[in-house]
Amino acid sequence: MGWELWVVETLRRALAYGTPLLLGTLGEIYAERAGVLNLGVEGMMILGAFVGFLTAFVTGNPWLGFLMGAAAGGAASLIHAFLSITLGVIQVVLGLALTLFGLGLSGVLGQGWEGRPLKVSLTVLSVPYLKDIPIVGKIVFTEQNILVYVGIGFALLLWFLLFRTSWGITIRSVGENPATADALGIRVSLIRYLCVILGGILAGMGGAYLSIVYRPSWTQGMTSGMGWIVIALTIFSVWHPLAALGGSYIFGSLFYLSFRLQPWLAPELLTIMPYLFTILAPMLLSVHKKLRRRMGAPAALGIPYRREEE
């Protein structure tokens, strides 16, 4: 294979490999934009992965799998929402608890389902006409599964919602200054609940993608830290849905390369790449002055809001 083909193939696969990260990151961006730090993405993803796999396996319908995976992620996020928004507990520890709980529960429930390959998966398709565009057509429109486009669609939609509509202003104001938002008559808790649940749904979907498309089977702990990479990607993409698109695909290409380069390097060392990059990426960003200024997190991130009584 010539190097051009290599690059095109890597980028094409990056889209497929980056999609679960993209879905998770978009959800986390919304939760954090509304001021809730949900570190339980790993737990929600793994539950989505198991429930998605189970549904697809039993019903033979991968779409139902995605739906139920998303629902499982959403349900798990409700625990977080209740404890962090209604009870106002410390969010760092809460996220860890959710991760442990999700990993444990999916491991217990999924015991008998390991090692069974899923026979139904999503068909890959090439978009007619568009696939003939030089380079871009080969990367974006050749042999991709539909979820890749769903991910891109979500990114565009959620970007539009966050920055071009009054709903977006509402969400961002809740994350920046909940007291003022409250004074303006915005129902802070409701907005936060909705954003956290959206985050859970998308994380669950990302998880289901892992067990239905990525590796069509169930293995306990199969998210292997992807949920944590999502947390890093959220910061890396400065809480911006379109930047998340780029960030996820960069990581997607790393995941693909860690398989592709195995003949030349020990697989264990290649597996380190995405994790190492998660640490290095913010480092590169912080060197850049202009970006550093933009790196501001939502001002009320991780701080529970409670109207002061009397």
Partner: protein
């Protein structure tokens, strides 16, 4: 007229803290009962069996103490970090790097037998400390959040161990298996009687709990840690150097986890093997061990024993009922949910008061 009154309490009494903690643990046992039920096992039978096999006999108790050793060491280190509000989630990786450093001493350093064990612990401490301090350097130089870095370092450590046991360190005598060679007698820790309790590590754990207790309650460093933990702004105003304090905190925190790793390879496995066998998630469970101790190092003795018991329960449940070991994560997750939920409820005291008209 009698009115319901809800008041804010800043410092809840320790009796209510203790009561609520015990209640949280019982509540999670209650919910786990449903898991047993779902598997067609009567929860009462299950808990009876668990009771008999854990605290109900001498062997069970020695198993619990054995399992609590790494939890104690990691837990007391994390407690110090959490006291400074430094979220070190990387005890797992620090433990593994301690184990790796200890393995290097045992198999490749070639130092005299007499110094093997002290060097194993010294290098284990150093391995964990260095691994933990990387996050501190990254935070001070590039302001990268320590939750992310310490976590990612866990996965990196895990893969380094995997690489070593599959590649350069793969043992000669272990045909086909990804282990290192076995440690020599001189590099293995003694155990108490027939039990698995490698007492030198247990002793180190007890000593470090004492050391951290003294640091927290008697030293300037402990005072600075407390101020930074409660209000970083106030600490800066008072001229307390943030990163110098965190440096010492992470040196101890990572070092403790490294000692735990050294103890595991030298006292239990006598070799470096798959990371999930070297550490059964001790580094993650220790987060809760530390959290449950609520800032008091001495309580770590109690909480690590409790979670040592949960590990033994995991074994019992696996052997007696065929349930997966993963159930211990459900336990720890649930206990943590209830604990942090009760934390916020404890801030309020509900009372009925007679109101004069």
């Amino acid at each position: 007229m009698i009115r319901l009154k809800i008041r804010k309490v800043i410092h809840p009494r320790w009796t209510s803290v203790f009561g609520v903690s015990v209640l949280s643990i019982f509540l999670s046992f209650f919910f786990i009962g449903f898991v047993f039920f779902g598997y067609g096992i009567s929860p009462i039978t299950a808990y009876y069996e668990i009771f008999i096999e854990t605290v109900g006999n001498v062997y069970g108790v020695t198993q619990i103490i054995w399992q609590s050793i790494p939890l104690m060491l990691c837990g007391v280190g994390l407690l110090l970090a959490f006291k400074a509000s430094y979220w070190n989630i990387g005890a797992e990786g620090q433990l593994l790097m301690g184990a790796t450093a200890a393995t290097w001493v045992a198999l490749f350093s070639g130092i005299p037998d007499l110094f093997q064990v002290p060097m194993i612990f010294a290098c284990g401490f150093a391995g964990g400390a260095v691994w933990g301090l990387i996050s501190t350097v990254l935070k001070s130089q590039f302001r990268i959040n320590e939750v992310i870095t310490t976590l990612m370092m866990n996965y990196i450590a895990m893969n380094i161990v995997l690489y070593l046991i599959h590649g350069p360190w793969k043992g000669e005598e272990m045909r086909g298996f990804a282990y290192t060679d076995s440690f020599s007698q001189a590099a293995s820790l003694p155990t108490i009687g027939n039990s698995y309790i490698h007492w030198p590590t247990l002793l180190l754990g007890a000593v470090l709990i004492g050391v951290v207790y003294v640091i927290v309650s008697r030293t300037k460093l402990g005072y600075e840690v407390k101020v930074i933990g409660q209000s970083p702004g106030a600490a800066r105003y008072a001229g307390i150097p943030y990163f110098r304090t965190i440096f010492w905190v992470m040196l101890i925190s990572g070092g403790c986890a490294g000692l735990a790793g050294a103890g595991e390879v030298s006292g239990v496995h006598h070799m470096l093997r798959h990371p999930e066998q070297v550490s059964l998630g001790y580094g993650y469970t220790a987060i809760i061990v530390a959290w449950l101790a609520r800032g008091n190092p001495l309580v770590v003795i109690l909480t690590s024993f409790l979670f040592g018991m949960i590990y033994v329960i995991g074994d019992v449940v696996q052997l007696s009922f065929g349930l997966p070991f993963q159930i211990i994560n459900v336990f720890t997750g649930l206990i943590l949910f209830f604990l942090i939920a009760s934390e916020s409820l404890m801030k309020y005291r509900i009372s009925f008061e007679r109101e004069e008209q």
